[in-house]
C-alpha cells in the first residue's frame, strides 16, 4: 500500500533519519514508535509531503512516487493529522475543509450551499455534529481533531497519518478518537499512528515499527509481542555511560513541592535537598517543562504549595526561544541578569564585566571566536554554555535545568555533566530534566517520572533502570513502577 525505503534526512549536522524503512498494509493500524528524537515525526512529515527527504524512495502500490508537497500527498490519497492541528482558527469548519481541497472546485465566489453539501457527509463520518459555519477556533481540541480528520477524508485519503494524536486530548476525547479509528479501519482506511504511549498502541494497533536514532530497528505484530519487548527495542543501547560519581550525603531540604496543580500539572509533590540532583523523567508534554515554569512563577498555580529555601533559577528547554538574545553578544548574554554587579550609577564597567564572565566561561570550556561575537554564530553546545554561564553568575541555590544537553555534541555534554556534578558538590539543589535516560541515570541521586502531569513513579538511583523509567513514562502497566 505504502512503502518507505531507506529514507534519510538531516538538519544541519544532525541526522534525524538515517535509513528508515516502513511498510503499510491496506486497512491496518500501524504504529510508529520510538523515543523522543528517534525520527518518527520526521518520517510522517516526509510521507505527507511537508518535509523533503534527502534520500531514499517511497512506493505507493508498488510504484515509486515523488511526494514533494502536501498536494502531491493529497493526489496519492495520503492525509496527515498534525499534533498541533494545522487548522485556520478564524475560518469556519466548512471553509477549513474546502481550503486547498482538490476535490472541491472553488469558483471566484464562495458558494455556501455547495460547500455545505460537500462537507456534511465527511463531518458525519468524523463524528463531528457542529454546524458547517462554526469557526474552527470555537471547537474544543478534540472536535478540532475530528475536523482535521474530516478534512483528510474529504480529500479522499486512503492513508491517514496521525502524529501523537492524543497528546493534547483528555481521556474521553481520546476514547472517541479510538472508536473513530476503528470505524475508519472498517472502511478500509490505513492508519499510521505515531506515538510512544504503550497503552494506546497495544489497544488499537495491528503492527508496530520501532525507530531508534533515525533507523528502523524492526517491525512487529502487536499480537505477538509484549510491552517490555517493544520498550527494550526502543531503548536499545546498553548503559555504557560512566558510573555516576559518588557524592556525600545530601544536606537540608532546599525545595519542597506539595500537591502542585496548574493547567498542566496535577498534584505533583517532591522534595529536593541541598547537594542533590533530582532527575525528572517524562515524555515531551508530560508536564516536565511546565513544572519548571510553575516553580519559576511563570505559570499560574491552581493549588498546592512551593516552599523554597533560597533563590530559584530556570534554564529553559528552548534556548533560542526562551533563553538567549540571539542578536546580542556572548558577553552581553552571559552578564545580562547580573549587570548591576558590574555597574556604577547605571553605567556598565566593561572591563569588570569581562573579568566577571571570563572564569565562568573557562570553567564551562566555552569556545567562541570572541566574547563580542553574536551568540547566533555559536554552535548549539556553546550557546547552551552561554546560557548556563548566565545562571552560574546569578548563582541561585536551586537550579532547574530543562533538557540542557538537547541537540548538542558529545564533548559539550561532558562539560555540562561535569558542571552539574560540581554544582551539586558545592551544595546546590539541582532539578534536571532530560530526554536521555542514560544521562538521567548517570547524574541523578533520585528520579521522579512524570506522566500526563502526575508523578507516575519515583526511584532511587540504585533501583532505576531505563526500562522501568520508560515503562512508567509511557504508562505501561505492571512493569514495577511503585504506586504513589
Amino acid at each position: 500500500m505504502l512503502q518507505a525505503r531507506d529514507i534519510r534526512k538531516h538538519y544541519g549536522g544532525v541526522h534525524a533519519l538515517k535509513g528508515a524503512n516502513f511498510d503499510l498494509r491496506p486497512g491496518e493500524v500501524h504504529a510508529l514508535v520510538g523515543e523522543n528524537g528517534a525520527g518518527k515525526s520526521t518520517l510522517a512529515r516526509i510521507l505527507a509531503g511537508s518535509t523533503r527527504a534527502d534520500g531514499g524512495s517511497i512506493l505507493r502500490d508498488g510504484r515509486e512516487v515523488r511526494i514533494a508537497s502536501p498536494l502531491d500527498a493529497q493526489r496519492l490519497g495520503i492525509g496527515i493529522i498534525y499534533q498541533e492541528l494545522d487548522l485556520f482558527p478564524n475560518l469556519t469548519a466548512g471553509e477549513n475543509i474546502v481550503a486547498g481541497n482538490l476535490r472541491f472546485r472553488e469558483g471566484a465566489m464562495v458558494r455556501f450551499g455547495e460547500m455545505e453539501r460537500f462537507c456534511r457527509p465527511f463531518l458525519a463520518q468524523a463524528g463531528l455534529s457542529c454546524p458547517v459555519d462554526t469557526p474552527a477556533g470555537e471547537l474544543s481540541i478534540g472536535q478540532q481533531q475530528m475536523l482535521a480528520i474530516a478534512r483528510a477524508l474529504s480529500m479522499d485519503a486512503r492513508i491517514l497519518l496521525m502524529d501523537e494524536p492524543t497528546s493534547s486530548l483528555f481521556d474521553d476525547a481520546a476514547e472517541r478518537l479510538f472508536e473513530l479509528i476503528a470505524g475508519l479501519k472498517m472502511r478500509g482506511v490505513s492508519i499510521v499512528y505515531v506515538s510512544h504511549k504503550m497503552d494506546e498502541i497495544f489497544r488499537i494497533a495491528d503492527r508496530a515499527t520501532v525507530l531508534r536514532d533515525g533507523e528502523t530497528v524492526g517491525t512487529v505484530e502487536i499480537a505477538a509481542t509484549s510491552v517490555e519487548s517493544i520498550i527494550r527495542t526502543m531503548v536499545g543501547r546498553d548503559v555504557t555511560i560512566a558510573q555516576r560519581a559518588g557524592r556525600g550525603p545530601a544536606g537540608e531540604v532546599a525545595l519542597e513541592v506539595d500537591g502542585l496543580t496548574t493547567a498542566k500539572l496535577r498534584g505533583v509533590s517532591f522534595t529536593v535537598h541541598r547537594g542533590e540532583v533530582l532527575g525528572i523523567a517524562g515524555l515531551v508534554g508530560s508536564g516536565r517543562s511546565e513544572l519548571g515554569a510553575a516553580l519559576a512563577g511563570l505559570d499560574r498555580v491552581v493549588s498546592g504549595a512551593i516552599r523554597a529555601r533560597g533563590g530559584f533559577g530556570l534554564v529553559p528547554e528552548d534556548r533560542r526561544v526562551e533563553g538567549l538574545m540571539m542578536r546580542m553578544s556572548v558577553l552581553e548574554n552571559g552578564t545580562i541578569a547580573v549587570l548591576p554587579r558590574v555597574s556604577r550609577a547605571g553605567f556598565v564597567a566593561r572591563t569588570a564585566e569581562r573579568r566577571m564572565l571570563d572564569p565562568v566561561a573557562a570553567g564551562l570550556a566555552l569556545n567562541c571566536p570572541s566574547m563580542d561575537a553574536p551568540v547566533s554564530q555559536l554552535s548549539g553546545g556553546n550557546q547552551q554554555k552561554v546560557l548556563l554561564a548566565r545562571w552560574l553568575l546569578v548563582n541561585p541555590d536551586i537550579l532547574f535545568l530543562d533538557d540542557p544537553t538537547r541537540g548538542i555534541d558529545v564533548g559539550a555534554k561532558q562539560d555540562i555533566y561535569r558542571m552539574v556534578e560540581e554544582l551539586a558538590r558545592a551544595g546546590k539543589a539541582i532539578l534536571l530534566v532530560s530526554s536521555e535516560l542514560p544521562e538521567l541515570l548517570r547524574l541523578s541521586d533520585r528520579i521522579v517520572v512524570l506522566h500526563e502531569g502526575r508523578v507516575a513513579a519515583r526511584y532511587d538511583a540504585e533501583e532505576a533502570t531505563q526500562e522501568r523509567i520508560m515503562a512508567a513514562a509511557t504508562a505501561a502497566s505492571g512493569t514495577g513502577a511503585r504506586p504513589q
Binding site: 519559576a296 511563570l298 530556570l314 529553559p316 526561544v321 526562551e322 533563553g323 538567549l324 538574545m325 540571539m326 542578536r327 546580542m328 552581553e332 545580562i336 541578569a337 549587570l339 548591576p340 555597574s343 547605571g346 553605567f347 556598565v348 548566565r390 546569578v394
Partner: protein, 321 residues
C-alpha cells in the same frame, strides 16, 4: 585610502556620503562661483531643520529597539507647543524655565501613560499609541480652543523665550547634546542593555528576570519627554503654540530610524545609525529644494530612497555601529 577599509563602513554611512557628493555635484552655483550647498549658512540650516525630527527619532530608536512603535509623537509635540505658548502668554508664570518644565513634564506624562498601558496590557504598541495620537491631539486642541497662540516680537517674557530658543546654535546644540546623551544611554548603561534585550527576545528577558515592564514604561516616557522638548523648540521657531503642529512627524521619525538600520522587529539598531538616517533625509530635502524640485516630486523621491536604503542594508554588513 584602501578600498576594503572603506567598504567596511556601515552602508548607511556610505549612502550619506553618496548623497552629500551628489548634492555638491548638482548644487546651484552662486555669483562668486562657490557652491550654494556648501555655504556654512546652508549647512547649518540643514542641521537646524533636522533637529526636531532628529531629537524625536533618538527616543523613537529606543522604542523600536524594544520592538514597539510610538505614533503619538507628533500630537505630543503639538501639546507641548500649545502648553508652552499658553503658559508664557497668559501670565501663568514669570519664568521661562517653569513654562518649559510644565510642557515637557506634561508630555513625559503622556508618554508614561502610553508605556504603562503597553507594559501592563496585551494591547500592541501600534494600537495604544494610535489611540494616544488621536487623544493627545484632541487634548492640545481643546486646551487651546483650536487656536494658534501667538508669541509676539516685543519685550515680554514670551518674546524673550522665542528669541533665545530659536537661535540656530541652541537648536543644533540641543540636538547634539541629546544625541550624545542617548548614544551613551544605549551603549554604556544597564538600561540600554535592558532595552536591547527586551526587543531581542522578550520571553528570554522575562526568564532572565529583567525588568521588562519598567524598561517599556521608561522608553515611552523618554519619547514623550523628547517630543515635548522638540515642541518647545517648535514654539520658539514658529513664534506660536500650534495645536495642529507635528502632523506626520511620527512617520518622518520612524523613517529616519529605519533608514538608520534599526529593525522594526526590535533588538538591533543604533543611535549613530538613526543620526545618519536623519542626515540622509535632511540633505536630500535640502538638495532637492536648492534645485527647485517640486515638493510633491520630493515626496516621491523620498519614498524611493526609504525603500532603497532599507533594502540595501538587508544585505551583508548592513548594521550601523
Amino acid at each position: 585610502m584602501k578600498l576594503p577599509a572603506f567598504a567596511a563602513l556601515p552602508k548607511n554611512f556610505l549612502a550619506l556620503a553618496g548623497i552629500v557628493l551628489l548634492a555638491i555635484a548638482i548644487s546651484p552655483v552662486a555669483a562668486d562661483g562657490s557652491r550654494v550647498f556648501l555655504e556654512i549658512g546652508n549647512l547649518t540650516d540643514i542641521l537646524r531643520q533636522i533637529s526636531l525630527i532628529g531629537i524625536i527619532s533618538l527616543a523613537m530608536t529606543f522604542v523600536i529597539l524594544t520592538g514597539g512603535i510610538d505614533l503619538s509623537v507628533g500630537s505630543v509635540l503639538a501639546l507641548s507647543t500649545s502648553l508652552t505658548a499658553m503658559w508664557l502668554t497668559r501670565g501663568y508664570t514669570h519664568s521661562v524655565a517653569v513654562a518649559i518644565l510644565v510642557a515637557v513634564a506634561a508630555c513625559a506624562l503622556a508618554g508614561a501613560v502610553n508605556g504603562l498601558v503597553i507594559a501592563f496590557t496585551d494591547i500592541q504598541p501600534f494600537i495604544v499609541t494610535l489611540a494616544s495620537m488621536i487623544g493627545v491631539r484632541g487634548l492640545a486642541k481643546w486646551l487651546s480652543s483650536n487656536q494658534n497662540i501667538d508669541i509676539g516680537f516685543g519685550q515680554d517674557l514670551a518674546a524673550h523665550f522665542a528669541a533665545v530658543f530659536r537661535q540656530k546654535a541652541l537648536v543644533i546644540g540641543s540636538y547634539a547634546a541629546a544625541s550624545a546623551a542617548f548614544w551613551t544611554l544605549l551603549s554604556r548603561t544597564v538600561f540600554g542593555r535592558h532595552v536591547r534585550a527586551t526587543g531581542d527576545n522578550e520571553r528570554a528577558a522575562l526568564h532572565a528576570g529583567l525588568p521588562v515592564r519598567s524598561t517599556k514604561v521608561w522608553v515611552y516616557t523618554l519619547t514623550g519627554l523628547l517630543s515635548g522638548f522638540a515642541g518647545v523648540l517648535y514654539a520658539a521657531e514658529n513664534h506660536q503654540g500650534n495645536p495642529n503642529a507635528g502632523v506626520a512627524y511620527e512617520l518622518d521619525a520612524i523613517a529616519a530610524v529605519v533608514i538608520g538600520g534599526t529593525r522594526l522587529s526590535g533588538g538591533k539598531g543604533s543611535i549613530s545609525g538613526t543620526i545618519v538616517g536623519t542626515l540622509i533625509m535632511g540633505v536630500l530635502t535640502n538638495m532637492l529644494r536648492l534645485n527647485n524640485v517640486d515638493s510633491n516630486v520630493e515626496m516621491m523621491i523620498k519614498a524611493v530612497i526609504i525603500v532603497l536604503a532599507v533594502a540595501v542594508q538587508r544585505g551583508k554588513g548592513g548594521n550601523g555601529a
